[in-house]
């Protein structure tokens, strides 16, 4: 147990911070700990949590995805057209939405792997393309989503929010795949050292495509879930998801230099961010001051995570 905690120090600290923040949130919330409050919190957290997992896959292989938000917006908008009608048409619509997500991820992956373009600029450009398509399909928020399905996926059963169950299922599947399969371990290997991974005989290009495709798939899940929660397709949600997903993975102990971290950490980071902004809402601070404090807390949290720099023995270790 202690070794596990030491090995996963970043995640443990983040989880502790989350517990404290959540306790604070419940303490100041006028309705206290109730199924209603927890369900709303869990739904919001699941949205950002899925976005953070999508970001995690790309960061794991030393990339960064500035198009995550745009993929979420695009799949959300497509969901607002397709996720309605008979069960068969909803199922088909769902398949189309998820395929589009994977395709978007693969476009990024192909440009990075075979086009030799850096991930950050690739996704900056493709983010514009995906976001543009979303905006073309639906210039203003609107559309309709099957309400029975939405109710089933966003309410609570026996006091447990369905969104939390979904998030836990996704996390368990991903953790098993990442830690117990050759493909998952290969992704970590590429993130740690692409050259060594290549020398070991891993199919680096193909594995990177897997990472980008998985990222697109999870982003599409997030987009679908946005449709479920908001019941509309909104093309303008992209920037906030992109930025928060990056902040979330960093808070959750995922190294932007690749190869370190887990989807669990990414989700914890996302939940921390969500809890901070909910805390702000009920904190009694003047509403106009809230964005500033949100930014300040984010910066402080990141800086605290970086305090390790004052323990290094040689400053050489700081420069890589």
């Amino acid at each position: 147990m202690m070794t596990w905690l030491r090995q996963n120090a970043r995640e443990t600290i983040a989880a502790l911070a989350l517990v404290i923040l959540f306790a604070g949130y419940i303490a100041i919330h006028p309705r206290g700990f109730s199924t209603y409050v927890v369900t709303i919190w869990s739904n919001q957290g699941t949205l950002l949590g899925l976005a953070a997992i999508a970001q995690f896959f790309v960061v794991l292989v030393k990339g960064i995805d500035l198009s995550v938000g745009s993929i979420i917006a695009l799949t959300n908008v497509m969901g607002s057209f397709l996720l309605n009608g008979s069960p068969t048409s909803i199922a088909l619509g769902m398949a189309v939405v998820l395929t589009v997500g994977v395709a978007c991820g693969l476009v990024n992956g192909i440009a990075v792997v075979y086009g030799g373009v850096q991930p950050i600029v690739t996704t900056l450009a493709t983010g514009g393309i995906f976001g543009g398509i979303a905006l073309l399909l639906r210039p203003t928020p609107g559309g309709s989503i099957d309400e029975t399905m939405s109710d089933a996926l966003t309410y609570a059963v026996a006091g447990i929010p369905v969104s939390a169950v979904i998030l836990v299922i996704v996390l368990v599947i991903l953790l098993v795949l990442l830690r117990r399969t050759a493909v998952g371990l290969g992704l970590y290997a590429i993130g740690s050292s692409e050259q060594s991974a290549y020398m070991t005989g891993l199919r680096v290009n193909r594995l990177k495509l897997v990472a980008y495709g998985s990222s697109g798939f999870v982003a599409a899940l997030a987009g679908t879930y946005v449709s479920m929660v908001t019941l509309t397709g909104d093309p303008n949600i992209a920037p906030s998801y992109t930025l928060n997903s990056i902040a979330a993975v960093v808070l959750g102990g995922v190294a932007l230099s690749g190869g370190v971290g887990s989807p669990l950490g990414a989700v914890i980071g996302a939940l921390i961010l969500k809890t901070i902004s909910s805390l702000m809402f009920f904190s009694g601070l003047p509403p106009l001051a809230q964005p500033f404090f949100e930014g300040l807390i984010l910066a402080t949290a990141i800086a605290l995570g970086a305090l390790g720099v004052f323990q290094v023995r040689s400053r050489l270790e700081l420069y890589r």
Partner: protein, 327 residues
């Protein structure tokens, strides 16, 4: 890449940097010719001068972004540095205290210095990844601006000097473009001929090597982020003179064009490679492209898509030529 390939690549006259500049210059010409087919006024000097004037705002802001990118970092706090500077300048200039009013522009530049220092503290001292830290700084600036203005449009006056520099003309040439030329000349000199410039390229290539060589790595990093903040604020003041008003989110549409201008100009996003002429041409290219897309009366969505697609194609051309050269 190995030393040998680097030498063969750079010894040829048509090296990588020149290819990117050439490519982008051809792109500008193609845009102008293509535009003139749709709208005959495109090749008139009046239109071209106006585009150079608009490109100057982008180009000056991109200068700071390029320095940071050469260092191997990135500055995502550009949007709200622009907005914040515009708000500070417009409200200081409209102040009833004549001393504050006369110091409006220096105050705006001070904001840029402050933001640069804040960015540098996170990136150079705490070694937080620049991408996250500057994002958080951007969020704080946004919060501060919202709090200060009460989320309404700030009132005040635009300083006379800003209006003159942004919209005035000297011998028929827009002042903004002349200012940009001066900035460009100084930047080229700094990058090619000063110790600071050499360190900047070296740091982008190998921070460890430069540290071991005894250079003051942190100082160079801090200086670079401060310069980037100053350039953002400088561009913002010109922009303020041009638009004659400050408003929430006026800097938001600048982040992507600024980074695109630097990167399609051939500067490597990983740092250490690139020249200013490329950024200069990149800023003009981006300005022409968005002008043509708006003249064609594309809906904003389609404009965004085409913009993204063209930038992706240019990056792919770069990426594939790099691969061939074995970079």
């Amino acid at each position: 890449m190995t030393d040998a390939t680097e030498r063969t690549v750079t010894s040829r006259w048509l090296n990588r940097d020149r290819v990117s500049v050439l490519l982008i210059a051809l792109g500008c010409v193609a845009l102008l010719l293509g535009g003139s087919l749709l709208y005959p006024g495109f090749l008139k000097p009046g239109y071209i001068l106006q585009q150079l004037q608009i490109a100057a705002f982008l180009g000056i802001i991109a200068t700071g972004a390029m320095l940071v990118i050469l260092l191997g970092e990135i500055d995502l706090s550009v949007p709200w540095t622009i907005t914040g500077t515009a708000i500070v300048v417009i409200s200081a200039s409209g102040s009833s205290n004549p001393l504050v009013a006369s110091l409006a522009i220096p105050l705006g530049l001070c904001l840029g210095i402050a933001v640069g220092l804040l960015n540098a503290i996170g990136v150079a001292v705490f070694r937080v990844p620049a991408m996250v830290w500057t994002l958080a700084v951007n969020a704080m600036l946004l919060g501060a601006a919202v709090f200060y203005t009460g989320n309404s449009r700030p009132n005040g006056e635009v300083p006379w000097l800003a209006t003159q520099a942004a919209t005035g003309r000297t011998f028929g040439i827009p002042n903004a473009f002349l200012v940009w030329l001066v900035v460009a000349a100084i930047t080229v000199w700094v990058l090619k001929r000063t110790v600071y410039g050499n360190y900047l390229y070296a740091l982008g290539n190998s921070r460890r090597a430069v540290f071991l060589a005894g250079a003051r790595v942190r100082l160079v990093m801090v200086a670079t982020f401060v310069l980037a903040g100053v350039f953002s604020s400088f561009g913002a003041i010109l922009l303020l003179g041009y638009t004659n008003q400050a408003y929430q989110g006026m800097g938001d549409p600048y982040l992507m064009p600024v980074i695109s201008a630097v990167v399609i100009g051939g500067t490597s996003i990983q740092g250490g490679r690139g020249n200013y002429i490329g950024t200069f041409a990149g800023a003009i290219f981006i300005t022409l492209l968005s002008s043509i897309l708006s003249v064609m009366q594309m809906p904003p969505a389609a404009r965004e898509m085409i913009f993204g697609a063209i930038i992706l194609v240019m990056l792919l051309v770069h990426g594939l030529t790099n691969k061939k050269e074995g970079v």
